[in-house]
Symmetry: C3
Subunit: 358 residues, 3 copies
């Protein structure tokens, strides 16, 4: 049993602990902390189950499954928070996921990978296509915020209309991206997939077993998310944190922990192409799929969520995208580049920590 | 006769129709619409005539002609609008032309080219030189706008002085760019020119005939522009459009239609180098030549035009330049990249549509 | 004796002249001008002495010396100005040094180098690593300024805390960068060093002689800086210049003159790798070492200096970094690219000249 699996097993003990903390009323801070920890192994198992099922159902349907469930944890937490009316936390968690994937995950992968390997190379076409899609998606979701620069007063209704229009465009683009990667240009993606599969599978997995795991984990994630969201406001204010900091830094670390673990693990095995695909691909899914789904869901749930972010979030995301592009454009990485990304994340974290509530 | 020529012949029927609409007072909306359509074939014929004459007079003078008349339609419409005092529309049409060339034209070229050809390559040195010139030109024309970030109140006179100084620097840079491309580094540009020429010419064209065509078309474009500008305000307000949207989206589509057609046509013939040269080169000419000429003309005409744009235009142009660079840096394109550019243009279009009047 | 050395000898006459101007009270304008000119040869000799000593003490300690004394002139002027309470001038000189190195120095190097050599190539890995470090450092020092976009009111204390936190992160990153370049990845930097050394040295330099030169020059630079700073405010207001323009344009030209001369000289000898290393490396040192040291020094000296710049400085630096990246990414340069960089610097200079005092 690998070290990673032992950690996840230990963390899974927090599932009953968090339930106890909730029902025995041990206080919001403990509920929040244990729910955060309990979600980590569940997210990892959901990811594993999705990949196993994807292998059995074949590349097309499997790819669709991966694309839809890839950010399932993130999406479930966000939907629960949205239903509870924490619109600001949900919006912050979108930009936080993008920043976290590009700086924290990529940074840790390059740093820890670089400690073992003097220079790591990556050249995947997939990473490039993802990067272009991500740039455009990120720009699109930030446009309503940028409108502030153009007019002093933009009505709430205008922002809502524009956000819905942007969300629809993004979902169409996402569907076309899937069509591109599974049908017209599937050959570009074959190397990456083969690499993943080869390592993990020696016998055909039992689809019903894994479907059961996926179902149970999804239900448990939703349950833990409910407790996390219910205790979030009291717990974070006890810790002296703003809603913005919680949404941008804390929630995405919990929601994306599974991708973090994968990206770092494969980077240490010198598979940087796969590592960057996970980090960049996850950012892209957040911007092209999760964000627009949340806008539409907010509209349906009666919790209107526009894409009007705090302008500093716009700056932070723009900066992260520029760095990610600059690093990925030379096709090589070393530990220092990882340090630079982590330093950028640290500095952004300080800024979000100190940023006063508007 | 090619399909393109048939379309232009049909569109040329709108020349008499627009004149009739104007003199018989069929209403501003009809005058505006027919004048827009009438300009399209005239612009195409002006472009064709310029290229024919350029072949006869030799590379140096021909290059100069192409460089000066390449955006003649755009320039004529803008000068007429400037004389009529529509300074905001003129300014918006400058940024709109840059955005339109980089996102709409490049996007359509990559999308339609990519539907026919799985992957299209381009590597021209010319495209790179143009891109660098364009980046710097774009930055220069946006600086007066960016000054707003540095000081709450910048006097109109300061902006006017700065805009004139920037305009003079840009015209000097433009002259040096022509000197570079025709004298010191002409060899870099030979491939592209040869490619164009080879396809179009089998016999030496009659220079007097084409000079006549150029003259007649220029007069007609100016005439149609007068009608377009005179009817613009009433027509667009009847359509519920702001001056900003009209200037950024509508006017550039009419003014740049000829380049659009060329860039898309050659992309479908898998000549992506030429296609991108047209799109990027046109943006560069707008920023390095058309914009400064308009600033100087405004000063002469007593319609002082500074380079103080709506800040959202700055965001939109910055975004377009970043995307164009990101796409052109990998030297390859496919239909999805075209979709992404078109999606970005669509989303920007939505934003300009919803942007309230300041 | 080379032409460069003759110029420096002539300029060194301004050392006694500036002292005379100061003690005989010839007026602030003359003191300021002569002190500026007197600093130029002193900075050049400090640079030469540092390099000579570095050769003797070996690569590790020598590298550390070069890294620490590389921007010594800049740092001394800034510390003197900081002690005198000219915090705004010091802050402006930080961004001005970055802009000046990336646009003015790189531009002059490419322009003058390009006049002699049709096309110049550069491909150094070092330049790339430096560029990534610089991007991140620049982003980090600009973050406190960017916080303004996120909140209308940020308290002075918050900015001070954030600036100190950022300064500490940057100094750690700087130390790691040195560790990277001298220990773990020293082989990447060997080519560049060999190239410099080879040209300059045929016999082992006398370390005590050069240490004496370094000491004397440092003392004289500090003395001239005192006079320069004492006369700065009156002199520049007599010239009609704002503190911002003085800090962004004038001070960095004086402080970085030695690097300017080196970068241009080696570019004319077609050693573009070395030339760009100097320009980009100097920017990186300013952002990673000089700026954080000044923040900490300001805290110690009781002249609290935060990293809250004029927002237009943020725009100017962002623009300069984008251009430098865009130019350096294709690995080639010609005289036109130099012109474009110089044009960008000229236009930024106009903007800073016209920018009203906030």
């Amino acid at each position: 049993m690998s070290g990673k699996n032992i950690i996840f097993l230990v963390l899974s003990l927090f599932i009953p602990v968090s339930l106890a903390a909730h029902y025995l009323e041990w206080g919001d801070l403990i509920v929040f902390g244990t729910a955060c920890l309990a979600i980590l192994p569940l997210a990892a198992w959901m990811g594993a189950a999705t990949e196993e099922i994807a292998v059995v159902v074949g590349p097309t349907l499997g790819g669709l499954l991966n694309a839809t469930f890839g950010n399932a944890t993130e999406l479930i937490i966000a939907l629960v928070a949205l239903k509870a009316g924490l619109v600001d936390v949900v919006k912050a968690s979108i930009t936080g996921s993008i920043i976290g994937n590009l700086l924290l995950v990529m940074g840790l992968a390059m740093f820890l990978g670089g400690l073992r390997h003097k220079e790591q190379k990556f050249q995947s076409v997939v990473a490039r296509v993802n990067a272009s899609s991500m740039n455009l998606a990120v720009i699109a979701i930030l446009l309503p915020t940028a409108m502030r620069f153009g007019a002093q007063t933009v009505s709430q209704q205008t922002l809502q209309h524009l956000s819905l229009a942007v969300a629809l465009v993004l979902i169409v683009v996402y569907a076309l991206t899937l069509f591109f990667s599974m049908k017209t240009h599937a050959y570009l993606y074959e190397v990456g997939v083969a690499e993943t599969v080869e390592e993990e599978h020696y016998s055909k997995p039992n689809i019903w077993l894994w479907a059961g795991v996926l179902l149970v984990c999804t239900i448990l994630v939703a349950l833990e998310s409910e407790m996390l969201v219910a205790s979030l406001e009291v717990a974070t204010s006890q810790l002296g944190l703003t809603a913005l900091f919680t949404g941008v830094i804390l929630v995405p670390i919990v929601g994306n922990a599974a991708e973090h673990a994968t990206a770092v693990t494969v980077a240490m095995k010198d598979k940087m192409d796969l590592s960057l695909s996970v980090a960049v691909g996850s950012s892209m899914q957040i911007a092209l799929f999760v964000a627009p789904v949340l806008v539409l869901a907010g509209w349906v749930l009666g919790q209107p969520m526009d894409l009007n972010f705090n302008p500093f979030e716009l700056v932070a995301v723009a900066v992260s995208v520029l760095i990610a592009n600059s690093i990925s454009s030379d096709g090589k990485s070393n530990w220092l580049e990882g340090v630079l990304l982590l330093a950028a994340y640290t500095v952004l974290g300080f800024a979000f920590y100190y940023l006063p509530v508007a």
